[in-house]
Amino acid sequence: MEKVQRALALVLVIAVGVFLTLTASSIEPPFGSFPLRQVGTEIETSVGQQYLENAPQQTGAANVVTSIVWGYRGYDTLGESTVLFTAVVGVLMAFRAMRRNE
């Protein structure tokens, strides 16, 4: 049974790989056409283009990626700082319990 299960799993992994590669190379806007997104039958411009036009004057930073991280999407960065703090508390708690068990 072990050989049959491993052969089936290998066939599954190869099938997933072929399906993903065929899907990724035939998505609708081709590689390299940035501000065009096709929704239905209309072509709209995306949010990134508006950030590129307005960010250097509204925030005064030369780095547009940094002004997005704290200026336009500040709540996501605040949540990520909380996740970092929680992970450190979890690691310290696990090692303190390990030392108490011995």
């Binding site: 990626v65 960065t77 700082s81 970092l84 703090f85 450190v88 690691v91």
Partner: protein, 135 residues
């Protein structure tokens, strides 16, 4: 560790530390910011831990001091956010003066927020290494 590793790591430590501080402070002009800068500062301290052992490192910077660094970084972000509510309209809104485009003292409260995040990330990675190596 041998004497070559100890001497080289002691010579290289201030340069890597200075490079990490440069990346944190120039977050609004060059690519980088608080997150990779904090990791580089923590990596310079970890290089000294690997060369000299964990006990000598814990005599210089104890676990309590690393936790205090983490708390100071979080408190900086919270104070700047509440300052936005007291003076302006929204939480984390910019109330500092905007300078010219491309100078060091520009972009409002962006540099101060990145200093807070840099302290937080440095203390977090240092605490993870202390917990896993001390036994």
């Amino acid at each position: 560790m041998t004497i070559i590793v100890r001497t080289t790591s002691r010579l290289l430590f201030p340069f890597i530390f200075l490079f990490g501080v440069y990346i944190v402070l120039h977050g609004h002009l060059t690519p980088g910011g608080g997150f990779p800068g904090g990791v580089i500062i923590a990596a310079s301290v970890v290089m000294l831990i690997l060369a000299y052992g964990i006990e000598r490192a814990q005599q210089r910077v104890s676990i309590l001091q690393a936790e205090m660094l983490d708390i100071i970084g979080s408190a900086t972000i919270a104070v700047i956010g509440i300052l936005g509510i007291l003076l302006g309209a929204y939480f984390l809104q910019n109330v500092f003066p905007l300078g010219e485009l491309g100078k060091l003292f520009s972009a409002g409260n962006l540099a101060l927020l990145y200093i807070g995040v840099g302290l937080k990330v440095t203390a977090s990675i240092l605490l993870i290494f202390y917990a896993m190596l001390s036994d």
